[in-house]
Point group: D2
Chain length 352, copies 4
Amino acid sequence: MPSPTATAVVGVTGYAGFELARLLARHPRLAPPLLMTREAAEAASADLAEIYPQIAPANGNGRLHPLESFSWERLKSAGVELLFLSTPHEVSRAWIPQALSLGLRVVDLSAAWRLRQPQHQQVYGFEDSDPPTAARLTGQAVYGLSELNRSRLAQAQLVANPGCYPTSIILALAPLLQAGLVDLDKGIVCDSKSGVSGAGKQPTAKTHFVEVAENLSAYSVFAHRHTGEILEQLELAPEQLTFVPHLLPIPRGILSTIYVQLREPTVEEALLSCFHDCYRGCAFVRIFTPPRLPQIQYSVRTNYCDLGFTLAPDGKRLVLVSCLDNLMKGAAGQAVQNMNLMFGWDEQEGLA
Amino acid sequence: MPSPTATAVVGVTGYAGFELARLLARHPRLAPPLLMTREAAEAASADLAEIYPQIAPANGNGRLHPLESFSWERLKSAGVELLFLSTPHEVSRAWIPQALSLGLRVVDLSAAWRLRQPQHQQVYGFEDSDPPTAARLTGQAVYGLSELNRSRLAQAQLVANPGCYPTSIILALAPLLQAGLVDLDKGIVCDSKSGVSGAGKQPTAKTHFVEVAENLSAYSVFAHRHTGEILEQLELAPEQLTFVPHLLPIPRGILSTIYVQLREPTVEEALLSCFHDCYRGCAFVRIFTPPRLPQIQYSVRTNYCDLGFTLAPDGKRLVLVSCLDNLMKGAAGQAVQNMNLMFGWDEQEGLA
Amino acid sequence: MPSPTATAVVGVTGYAGFELARLLARHPRLAPPLLMTREAAEAASADLAEIYPQIAPANGNGRLHPLESFSWERLKSAGVELLFLSTPHEVSRAWIPQALSLGLRVVDLSAAWRLRQPQHQQVYGFEDSDPPTAARLTGQAVYGLSELNRSRLAQAQLVANPGCYPTSIILALAPLLQAGLVDLDKGIVCDSKSGVSGAGKQPTAKTHFVEVAENLSAYSVFAHRHTGEILEQLELAPEQLTFVPHLLPIPRGILSTIYVQLREPTVEEALLSCFHDCYRGCAFVRIFTPPRLPQIQYSVRTNYCDLGFTLAPDGKRLVLVSCLDNLMKGAAGQAVQNMNLMFGWDEQEGLA
Amino acid sequence: MPSPTATAVVGVTGYAGFELARLLARHPRLAPPLLMTREAAEAASADLAEIYPQIAPANGNGRLHPLESFSWERLKSAGVELLFLSTPHEVSRAWIPQALSLGLRVVDLSAAWRLRQPQHQQVYGFEDSDPPTAARLTGQAVYGLSELNRSRLAQAQLVANPGCYPTSIILALAPLLQAGLVDLDKGIVCDSKSGVSGAGKQPTAKTHFVEVAENLSAYSVFAHRHTGEILEQLELAPEQLTFVPHLLPIPRGILSTIYVQLREPTVEEALLSCFHDCYRGCAFVRIFTPPRLPQIQYSVRTNYCDLGFTLAPDGKRLVLVSCLDNLMKGAAGQAVQNMNLMFGWDEQEGLA
C-alpha cells in the first residue's frame, strides 16, 4: 500500500467545499485533507463540525476537522500534492499560476479556467494581472468532464472542474453530436432546473426561503455564465443552443430537459446504442432504457449522471432528460473523480 | 338588481371542484350554489366544511355548505340555469347531452368536449352511447379560453373549460402565431412544470409526499392528453410542437417555458406591442416588460395568466414564460370567468 | 356613506407591512392608504408592485401602489387619522410619542409598546430618550388582542399589536385560566412551530432555503422576546410557563401545541362550553369540536385563530392546539381587526 | 476473515425495508442479503432497482438486487442465520414463532413484540393463534434500543426493534430518569415531529403531497401506539407522560422536544455529565453542549441520535431536544446496529 496522498481544500465552508471535504476525508488513498479558508479569524480555532454539526463525532471534544487559514507555507510543509480550490473566480484566477509554479497539481471548482477563448474578462468581469501567463495556463487547463477527457486528465496539472449545468447538458448531448445525429439548424433547447444550493451559501434575497418555497422561476435567460463552456465543449455556435436555468424549491439536484431534432428518422435502439457506446465502462453515467426517465431523487447525493430519453413517434423529435446532484457530479464528486483519474486510481474510489 | 342566478357544481370534493365552490359562494350575482357529489353516501348529511375545514364559519354548527347527491330533479326544482361539471371525462361525456336537452347551460371542467376532431375515443379511451348526438354537441361546444373566444362564449350553451397546461401555453403563443411571427419549421418547445394539485385528490404513488418532495420529474412525454387541445386551438401540426410536463414539489401553480424561433430578427418593443394588442382590455392577462419575468408566486391563488419573454441578442430566438394557478385560471377561476362572459357580466365579477 | 378614512403604513416592503398594505387597499371604509418606507431612495419613484409583482394590475403602466418616503408633513397634508407602524422596535418606540402628540391614532406592529412592565430595555436592548413620556404612554397603550380587549380598543389612541406566537397562545389559554381550571403548579408548556416569514424579509443564514428546507429546529429556548407579553397578558409567573418556538420549513402559519393539567377531572363538554362562552360572537376564533383538531392549512391566509383540544382519559391532562397565519391574525390581519374596533366598525370589514 | 453471514429481509419494498436492504448490501460482514417480499407476483422477475432506481448500477442489465418471494425453504437453503422482518404487525406476530423454532435469529421492525404486557390485542387489534407460545416469546424478546440493552442483545434470539418516536424519546429521558433527577409528579411532555416516510409507503389521504405540504398537524393525541413502549421502557405510569406526534412537511427526520421538571435546582454541567456518563462509548449518540441544540438536518441520513438541552434560569425546568432519522436510528439503522451487537461485531460496522 503506497503512503497516503496529501491534499488541501480551500473554501471548505461553502456548500461545494464542504461536500468535497467530506468526500476527501473518507477517501481510502488520502491522508486527512487540509481544510482551509481564506478568512484568518474564522480559522483561528474552529472545527468544520462547528459550522456543519452533521459531521461531529459522537464523543465530541476532539477537533477532527480543524479549519486552517490558507498559506503557501502550510501547503509546502504538509507535502500537499493536489490542491482543490472552491473559491470565487477571481481568487482561483489569481492564485493558480503560483500554485502551478510551486509544482502543485490543482483542481479548480470555480469557472476561472474553464473557457478556452479569451472571453473570461467579459464573462466574469475581472482582468488578469499577468495576461501572457494566464493565456499559457488557459491552454494547459484540462476541462474536467471526467468521462470525455479521461486520458488528458491523467497528465493534467490544472483541471478546470465543470459547472453543474454544463455537466448535465454536455453528457447528454455529446454522444449524439459526436455521432452526427443532430439537426443543428433546428436549434437545441436546454431547459434546466436546479436546487438552491447551486446558488451558494451566501444569504441573498434570491435564496430566502420565503422567496423560493412554493415557487419556480427562470433566470439569466440567454445570459448565464455557464453557456460559454457548454458551447465550447460541444463546439456549437451561440445561436445553435438556447439554455434557460430555473430555480427549484429543493435544496439540491438538477434536471435538464433537452430538446433536439434528429437529421433522420431514428429508432430507440439506435439511440440507446449510441449512449451505451459512448459511456461504456463509465461508472458514473447511467443510461435509462425507455420508457423510464431519470428523476432528481434517483441521483441526489450520488455521483451519478442519469441519462434518459423519449423519441417522438415521428422518429425525429427527441427529448433527453439528464439528472445529477449539483454538489456531487456537478461539483465536489466530479472533482474527486477527476483526482482519481489524475492519479491513475479507479474512478470510483471514495465515491461508491 | 336582478334576482340571483341559480347554479350547481357536481364534483365539489375534488380540488378544482372545491375551488369552484368557494368562488361561486361569494360571487355577487349568484344564489348559493348547489354543491353536489355523485356519491349518495358522502352527501347524506355532510357539509363541505367537514372535508375542507378552512371554509368552516366561526360559530360552527350551521350547515353553511351542505353537500347534496346529484339528481336532475334537484337541478330543476332549484331552478338551476348553469351547471358546472367537475367530474371525470366519461361522466361529463355521458351527462351533458341530457343537461343540454333540459335547457341547462353547462361549463364542463373535464376534457370531454374540448377536442373538435373525433379523437376522444383514442385519447380518452371510452365510447359514446349516442355518437350522432355527441358529434353534434362537439360542434356546438365552445372552447372556453376566455380571452380568445369572448364573443362565442356569450351565446354558448356548452363551454369546454380548457386544461391548465393548454391555458398557459395557448395564451403565450396565440398572439405570436396570429401575427405570423413564428418560424414553424423550427418547431416549438413547451417545457411546462406543474404543482401536484393538478394530479387530483386521489392518493396515488405519484402524489405521495415522499415521492414528490425533493424531486422533479418529467412525465407523459409526447403522450400527454392536453397536447391535442393545444394543437387544435393553435392550428399546429403534431410535429410542430413538443410539449413536456413536469411535476414540481409544490401544491399549486404552473410555469411554462416556451421556446420559439421568429421568422425575422425582431425587437423587444415589437413583441411587447404584439402581446399588448392581443390582450388589450383583458383583466386577467398580465404582460411583463423585459427583463422582468413571471414567477409562480406572482400568480398563485389569482386568476391571472402572467406572460413574459426574453429575446436573444440574435433577435430570433425567443423564450416565453407563462405562469398561472392551475386551480384558478387553469380550472375553476376560468370557469367563473367564462360564466361571467356567458351571462354578459364583467369578466372580473367574483374573481377580484 | 361617510367619507373614507385616511390611513398610512410605514414599513410596507416587509412581509407584515406588505400584507397590511394589501388589506387596507381593499378595505371598504378606507381611502387608498399611504404606503411609506423609511428609505428615501427606495421610495423615490417606486411602486410596491415592483417589489411584489403579485399585486400588479393587468394593464400595467399606472402606479397603483406608489411608495412614498415617510414624513410627518405628508401624514398631515393627507389628513391621516390612523398610522400603522410596521417598523423595528426602536423606530416605533422613538416615533410614537410624536405621532400621538400630533393627534394621530396608532397601531404599532412592533413589540415596542406591548409590555407594561418597564423591562423593554432589558428585553429589546435600547433606551428611551424621554423616559417619563415613555412610561406614560406605556400606561395608555392597549394590548391589541382583539377578542380580549374589545372595549378598550374602542377608545385607544395607541394599540400595541400582539406578537404572532402570543396571539396563538393567549387565545388558547385565556378561557381556561379565566375560568380557574388550570393547575398552575404543574406548569404550562407551549410548543410552538412557525413558518419562515415570521423571521422577516432580511436574508440571513437562518432564513436561507438550504438551511430551512428538510429541517426543523428549536430556537430561543427560555429566551424568546415574546415570552414577556404572554406572561403579562395571562398574569403568569415566569416559572409557570415554558415556551419553545421552532422554525418550520413552510413560508407561513403557526401551530402551537399547549399542554396544561386541570385542577379537577373534567369532561370534554365543559371545556367546549368554556371556549364557546369566552368567544361567543367573535368572528375570527373557530372552536373545533373533538376529535377534530386545527391544522396550519385550515387557517393559513385567513384571519382566523383556530382552537381545538384533546382531553386525556384521566380528564386532567389537556392538549390544546392553536393555529393561525402569522402574517394575518398574527400581524396584519389583527391590525386591521383592531382598526375596525377602534373606529366602531364590524370587526370583519375588509377581512372576509 | 470468517465467512460472510447470511441474512434475509422480508418487506424490502417499503421505506424501512428498502433502507435496510441498502445497509445490509454494503455491510462488510455479510453475504448479499435475500431481498424478499410477501407478494409472489411482484417478486417473479423483478429487481429492487426497478422500484428504487437510485440503486441501479451504471451498466444496467444485471439483476444486482433480485427480489424473491418469501418461503421458509428458501431461507433454509440459503443458510440464513438472521431474519429481518419489515412487515405488518400481524405478519410478524404470526411468523416469528416458526422462525424461532427453525433456529433463526430475528430482528423484527414491526411493533408486534415490543410490549411486555399482554396488551397488544387491545393496542394492535388482532389475536394470537397460540397464546401460550406468544406469551413465552414475549418474555424472551429483547427490546432493541441498542444503547440501553447492549448486553442482552448479545444473546438475543428475538429482537423487537424499537419505534422511531420511542427511540428519540427514551434515549433523551433514560439518563435523567435513571439518575432520579426528574420530578415525575409534574408530568413529562413529549412533543414529537416526524417526516412523512414514518407514515409508510402506502398512498393515503394523509400522505398526499397537497395535504402535507405547507402544513403541520398533530395526530393520535393520547392514542398513539408508540406510547406503550415508551411507558414500559421508562417505567412510567400513563399519567406521567404526555406524547403528541406531529406530521412535518419533510420526507424524513424526527425532532422530539421534551419538557421535564427537575426535583432540585441543577446546573448545566451536572446534566451534561449525566448524559456523557450514560452514553460513554456509544458511537451513535451525540451529546450537544449548550447552547447548541440538535436540528433534524444534522442527523438525517445517519444513524445518530442527537441529544441537547436548555435549562431554565430557575435550574428546574428543562427542555430536551432529540433528533434522529426515522428510517435509520428510528428503524433500519438501529436494526443493523442490533445485528452487530447480536453477533459481537463493532456496533458501527456497515453504518459509518
